[in-house]
Subunit: 290 residues, 2 copies
């Protein structure tokens, strides 16, 4: 599989993202990953899954004995020209005429086609899809905010050795301006508390609220291999406790948001979960630079 | 592998632990798991590994094409009569004549022989070794403190639904008395921040310091499958930051403690890392009930 075209393009993306997370050139490499993934998935067979999630339908791809993760039928609308239009809009000075709903579908389709391809090409590889998803979200956030992300911050030193603290993606808009703290994960599962714990570190080290915490997640579903049933695993009550006792996150964005989390806003919680496409329209308000 | 003797005994242990985490009966089931594991490992082949950890040597078992995790040569001294003596000592009113060093070896040998067996019997199963290790540590802590662990606490309710918060092991010595918060993991890896985050939750909900945080870990080594080199992955600088900015843990115990963490005490940190055997002798001091 070393000469697999998708993995080769992904490798270009890795190099390109290090140079610049956003911009035309990076967009082109993402385009290549996308088109190679779609071409590969054309060879795979679609298989319906039994959705146990109200209002959502799922299928998976299968190929040479392997099955991909569950794919949300309503969100998966691979449409290459639409993706290119979005890229162009981002390039042409940030005027976006695509609807929020449409943007979410474009990004979901792109993300999930790569992840599903890797599920079929490799065995038990969670890292490659996770890394690609991080590059993809970094691409959009960096393009929208105009800054390259960092993945560490200097640790103010009192007694210990001077050191850097590895972090999730940090987008620093400049001195005196907003700093976004954006962990990117394909799902949170039983590790969701880490999202708040990393925010707490930044709050503790640099001052509460200096960094705007806004994790981006792909989905929270799980497929039973035998019964082919898809469930969403959500812990809304625990999330409320994390938001109260560990740190305040400004947003949690999803490409395929679970209804249980979207409902949290209705409960007067400071925790607001939204589709990721909302970021394109509210980021400057969040940054206080509108 | 369904009729595997080790897994069958492990299943008995699961049931017995739910009834009572400690005591003679539970000790006997652990004995059975231990002897079955040792019997199985006798059929496996020992393979030397290249230690990149100063002062430690490692080997692994291999069996029908699979390799076990790395085993610390100095700590692995399977000695069934010694284990039975320790059990008897615990049973006979808590007078322990076994040295700390010896206790650590007894528990390490027991834990690692089960974990290594599962590595060889199953593929990529991290959960079964993790669960066994939790039962084993619960057994000792429960026996020493005389209380059955809980794995959830009620969440004081203001506006939300009344709910329980799932927790790591909690040993509540009674009203007005100490409560130990003991996460048990075979390694912390990139998830170590969760140890502090869970402590922070308890501090936030019930008051700082009400729960004595003392995670127990097995080891922190990692074997490169190709080169057979064993390294320890430690993040002492980050741990100091967690201890400063997230919550205070009273102890972190290890069966195979990395030197990088043992050194933390010398740096005047409130974070004290020790071999787990120390718990047997200092728990009542920690609990303030000496």
């Amino acid at each position: 599989m070393k000469d697999n075209k998708i993995l080769r393009e992904f490798d270009y993306l890795r190099k390109q993202t290090k140079k610049q997370a956003y911009g035309d050139d990076t967009g082109k490499v993402i385009s290549n990953v996308y088109s190679e993934s779609l071409e590969f998935l054309n060879k795979a067979i679609k298989q319906n899954l039994k959705s146990k999630v109200e209002g959502k339908e799922f299928f998976s791809y299968s190929y040479s004995g392997k099955s991909s993760r569950a794919i949300n039928v309503q969100l998966f609308k691979p449409d290459f020209p639409q993706w290119e239009l979005l890229c162009k809009a981002l390039n042409d000075g940030h005027v976006i005429n695509t609807s929020k709903d449409q943007i979410n579908k474009i990004i979901y389709s792109l993300a999930i086609s790569f992840c599903a391809s890797i599920d079929l090409i490799k065995s038990g590889d969670q890292k490659t899809p996770g890394t690609f998803f991080e590059y993809l979200i970094a691409f959009f956030v960096a393009w929208r905010t105009g800054v390259q992300p960092q993945n560490h911050i200097p640790l103010p030193n009192y007694e210990g050795k001077p050191t850097n603290l590895p972090t999730d993606l940090i987008f620093d808009l400049g001195t005196g301006k907003a700093k976004f703290h954006i962990p990117v994960k394909t799902s949170s599962r039983e590790r969701s508390i880490m999202l708040w714990a990393h925010q707490r570190l930044l709050d503790g080290i640099y001052g509460t609220g200096r960094f705007i915490g806004a994790p981006v997640l792909l989905a929270e579903n799980k497929t039973n291999k035998t019964s082919k049933e898809v469930v969403e695993i959500c812990l809304p009550e625990q999330w409320l406790v994390y938001q109260m006792h560990i740190a305040k996150l400004a947003r949690i964005y999803y490409l395929d948001p679970p209804q249980a989390y979207l409902n949290l806003s209705d409960r007067g919680s400071s925790l607001v979960v939204k589709p990721f496409s909302e970021f394109f329209f509210e980021w400057s308000e969040l940054a206080g630079t509108k």
